[in-house]
């Protein structure tokens, strides 16, 4: 952690921290006059992110997600209000995106070797069998009883595509409750919320990388009181039989999403933004446009073109 004065005029103190969580780094910059508050908030952020990781990780056998995966195939499992809200939202966006956002693709990800970063080729028959266990409509939520049930054995949930966004939302809510006006929160560089402004700036200016530098320059953006979420296949890919497999899969076909290299989505909520960006990877700019408009979101797509990668702006600059 570093704390330093940011200049005479502002008299704001600055605290920055970076720590490992959910397989990546959580990064935060906070600005406030009270140095003691900044220290305390950094501690609370650390605790909150650790709490959510312990609850949402599918890699930890003691997490809530693991408990659900172990037991919900056998019958209704009681969950807390927070988990109910997350699952409820995940099902809502499963429907809103026509199934493009789906938290049940775990068996597919594993089959493609995307968890252990070793690619396996997957044949059509195996895919068909696996697809039988995939689809969020196989999750039954009883909101009144607060239970979750899988309609088939073998169904698994993976909150990897919402956990970071949810954590950023919770941290930003915490900062707002502490009446912090200016902060920059980034989870893995892919789930970002900019609160207020950087010192001497209007909003928080920075750049986003949607493709390798030889294919595309970083794109400058300025964000203020909104979230920006990036999904992409540029980082977590594995090789399978000579072809590169990205970690975002199309739940309908079981195949890696093909044409979109990466997409950045701007939305008020980092939680919703992360679900939308995952869906946009699958849908692409044409099919995604209507959903984005309905959700008052904008997106910047990096898509494969004849001579490399090109950008497609869908209300990105307007929102």
């Amino acid at each position: 952690m570093t704390v330093a004065a940011t200049g005479e005029a502002a008299r704001l103190q600055r605290a920055a921290d970076s720590f490992r969580a959910m397989g990546t780094l959580f990064e935060v910059v906070l600005l406030h006059e009270d140095e003691g508050l900044l220290h305390a908030l950094l501690n609370e952020i650390h605790d909150e992110v650790a709490r959510l990781e312990a609850k949402l990780s599918r890699f930890l056998p003691t997490s809530e997600v693991s408990r659900i995966n172990r037991l919900a195939g056998r019958g209704p499992i009681l969950v807390d209000f927070e988990m109910l809200e997350i699952l409820d939202a995940a099902l809502e966006y499963y429907h809103k995106t026509g199934g493009a956002f789906d938290i049940t693709v775990a068996p597919l990800l594993r089959k493609w070797g995307l968890y252990e970063r070793k690619g396996h080729a997957v044949d059509a028959q195996t895919l068909r069998q696996l697809l039988d266990q995939v689809g969020s409509d196989l999750i039954e939520l009883d909101r009144r009883r607060r239970t979750v049930t899988f309609k088939k054995p073998g169904v698994e949930i993976d909150l990897g595509a919402v956990g970071k966004g949810y954590a950023v939302r919770e941290v930003v809510d915490m900062l707002r409750r502490a009446e912090l006006q200016h902060a920059f929160v980034s989870f893995g560089g892919s789930s970002i919320f900019a609160l207020g402004s950087a010192p001497g700036h209007q909003g928080w200016p920075f750049s986003i990388r949607l493709a390798p530098p030889e294919l595309l320059d970083p794109v400058p953006v300025t964000l203020q009181n909104r979230s920006l979420t990036i999904s992409g296949n540029t980082v977590r890919t594995v090789e399978a039989e000579g072809r590169s497999v990205g970690h975002v899969l199309n739940p309908a076909s079981g195949q890696p999403a093909a044409d979109v290299v990466a997409v950045a989505v701007v939305h008020d909520s980092p939680f919703v933004g992360e679900m939308l960006s995952t869906a946009m990877m699958v849908l692409g700019p044409e099919k995604g446009e209507e959903i984005l408009a309905r959700e008052r979101a904008g997106a910047l797509f990096a898509v494969r073109s004849a001579d490399g990668v090109e950008l497609r702006d869908v209300n990105f600059t307007e929102v």
């Binding site: 780094l25 990064e27 001497g200 750049s207 970083p218 990036i230």
Partner: protein, 419 residues
Amino acid sequence: MSTEGQSRRDFLKSAGLASVSLASMLGLAARGEGKVGPNDTVNVGIIGTGSRGCHLLQIMNTIPGIKVAAVCDIYQPHLDRGLKLAGGKVPAYKDYHKLLEQKDLDAVVIATPLNWHARMSLDALDANKDVFCEKTMTYSPDEAEQVVRRVLNSDRVFQVGHQRRYSPVYHRVMQLIHEGAIGEIVFIKAQWHRNGDWRRHVPDPSLEKLLNWRLYRESSGGLMTELASHQIDVANWALGDMHVESVVGIGGIDYWKDGREVYDNVSVVYKYPNGVKLVYTSITRNKYYGASEQIMGSEGTIEVTTRRAKLFRERPVQRSEFKSFVMNLERELLQSVAVGAASFLPEDPNKDTGTWIEVDMPHSEEYLELASFAECVRTRRKPFGDVLVGYRSGVAALIGNQAMDSGEIVLWPKHEGIA
């Protein structure tokens, strides 16, 4: 504690301790191996040619400029072996007083049971010999005080056998620590864990106390004096040659109820004046962790053994984009920092497996401690592992035993004028 730690580091730098290089400390750099003239040969008598004494003897045989010129032991088979290893043609004594009368001896190496260390050291100094005394320096704190006063008031060279003080691994580690590589030291953990009864073969029951002297209180402080003092010295060294302030502990004879009198397991906690605690354990029925120390700082941990050392950083490595983002917050440049990207996976996200600390090891630390001792004898320089080093580690080991015997907190004994 942070301001204390800072001033501590500043002190270390200003005192020049942080920059002590191994070669210059050993005094070996300028001369170089093989350049010792015949008149510079140091004649050494070895008092105690049991396993340790013979080990040192054989190492001395390989160091240019050292001649083993006498051996001494009260136990005939050990004396015979010592004589044989020394080439068979040097005087061999049963009474160390006779060895001290040998005129051509420059120095003695004392490798006897603990209860003899002080008496023999004082007698050797009286006989005008330089002294290399095995650890632990003395059997009691009072003896430690006597030896310190005697050495400080003489022109004799006195070195205590803490070979880690001469280990390239430990020197590199201490250099890193004193340069701030792990931040401010906040805690130290050390242990020497073995799985065995620590007994030596005894040909006849009448020789039990002579040969298994480590197991009896009249001749040994057990695990604390035979093992812990080395590692307490490492902690003292890391903390800039501080000595402990107090100690609590619990020991027991729980695994080997064979008539021994010293604990077969010890667990002690030392407190230093700056608040740092040293937690020390030695057990004899499980060897996990072996002999190692973990020096834990606000920014990292160094785990060290005589063979190698590893650095574990307390803080994760920052992403360079984020670092640059924070640095450029107020600048126009901020716009160009690509802090946003598809989610990345840092290297080995779930555990830091540490970084090996690279060290050149031309010789064993025992070779280096003896070569350095010989060089101090020639040049009349004060050894790096001098009498105060032995005093701080030795007295700490002894009061550790007092704490376990009494079940009370034992404070550092005040010896006027000695720190």
